[in-house]
């Protein structure tokens, strides 16, 4: 049995707030060994003071962008930019967030969400004396599918994959391809109790204590697929355009050589 609930009573988070103390206060004595806390990246960013002026939104997106993956402007003039941000994550607007922030501001992602998750896990384990894991979550769109789901962008003291690659299925055949990303599944599950409009930024998941472990387990950075293994590192239109330009130059050159040879 898996139980998931949101912690009540975490108010508006401000720059410099001690998230370990805020979460511990909200949790009271409810946490047990093996619980996993899923913390919305928004409150981590707020505590870290990652606000920038809303008028700098486009600049902020550009600054957070390592590489443009795809970009499209709708007939109404709204441009969607899917980019790889400095964390390696491919997301719309580089993860720069304009909802539930004070008027006139937008919010950047935490500086290092894995480090933030580890610091929270470390602090809460020490303060409360329970071995918990922490996931820092963010909301992402997907290729091929409408709508968004929550994913893990930081993880501390929790396995991000339920690695079945060494296991076998019920018929005894190796499960060599299967590697469920439990960190993303935990983030998605927690979104079901948080709600987007409500101020419920922390969920507790109880029932997968087997996923909680050492504080130096690999973080959510290990979920990011390296570019060389990624079939979709560039949008179809962008890749086609790159190919077209290269092909055009080669075709032009070939015709020239052929003509010279006549």
């Amino acid at each position: 049995m898996l139980q998931i609930w949101a912690l009540e009573g975490i108010g508006e988070v401000r720059e410099g707030d001690d998230l370990v103390a805020l979460i511990a206060d909200a949790a009271g004595d409810a946490l047990r060994d093996g619980d996993i806390l899923v913390v919305t990246s928004k409150i981590v960013s707020k505590a870290e003071g990652r606000f920038v002026s809303a008028s700098d939104r486009e600049d902020a997106i550009t600054a957070e962008t390592v590489r443009i993956v795809a970009s499209r402007t709708s007939p109404t003039g709204q441009t969607t930019r899917i980019v790889e941000n400095r964390l390696g994550i491919v997301a719309a607007a580089a993860g720069v967030d304009a909802s539930n922030t004070p008027h006139g501001t937008v919010l950047l992602l935490p500086v290092d969400p894995d480090a933030s998750a580890r610091a929270l896990a470390t602090g809460l384990r020490e303060l409360l004396g329970v071995e918990i894991g922490v996931i820092v979550s963010d909301t992402h769109g997907r290729a091929w599918r409408e709508g968004q789901t929550d994913n893990a962008i930081g993880a501390g003291g929790v396995h991000v994959f339920d690695d079945l690659r060494g296991g076998t299925d019920a018929e005894g055949r190796p499960l060599f391809v299967t590697q469920p990303c439990v960190a993303d599944e935990l983030a998605s599950a927690s979104d079901l109790v948080k709600g987007k409009a409500a101020r419920l930024p922390v969920a507790v998941v109880r029932g997968r204590a087997d996923l909680v472990g050492a504080l130096d387990l690999p973080g959510a950075r290990s979920v990011v697929r390296p570019a060389e293994r990624d079939f979709f590192r560039l949008g179809a239109d962008e890749a086609r355009e790159e190919g077209y330009e290269e092909g055009y130059a080669d075709g032009f050159e070939s015709a020239r050589i052929e003509a010279d040879g006549d």
Copy 2:
């Protein structure tokens, strides 16, 4: 509070089995109004007798494929084909499944997973007298992220999106972009209690009764993004190659015209 558990006691499913009866037996009197059942597509396929000979695996993938999205052969000679299948879903191997099937067979996806989900929801509501929703789930890889998560490929009597587009955030600003795909989040959440190697193909989610509704609600087909709205309808290499060929022809032709004009 969300509670998620797997139903015990559903044995090996065979062609022609009555899934409504099997699930009702396993559930006993545990189900209540507002519960959501997440049923692994594998048992729906098995009940529908969607087995084909393992030696026809490649043919089966080809038959299920509407369009090749990306294909790559590893140095060890293993080819990964990401394709759009006849359900519009982009997935590896068109969803053809070779694990946990009888030796010598592979398994195709259900003929119409939305229809299967609706039939299960209808049958279980009638038999048990409780208003439940049903999701049929499958395991998918993702662009940009390692590992797999479970998604909804069928839905009956349950909202697939938690539509917040008309709502406002806590600051009163419109949440015009946010549309959580709760069907996929429910599928992912349920994978956390199912396990891949165990025979636990049905999970119950309790605590989001607000998502359960009429049997004619839009199915999981509505989660599939139409190609014209999809930035990643083709792999980067494939799109680049298409562009290259087109560019080469145009460049060659341009050089010809220029030479003729000299």
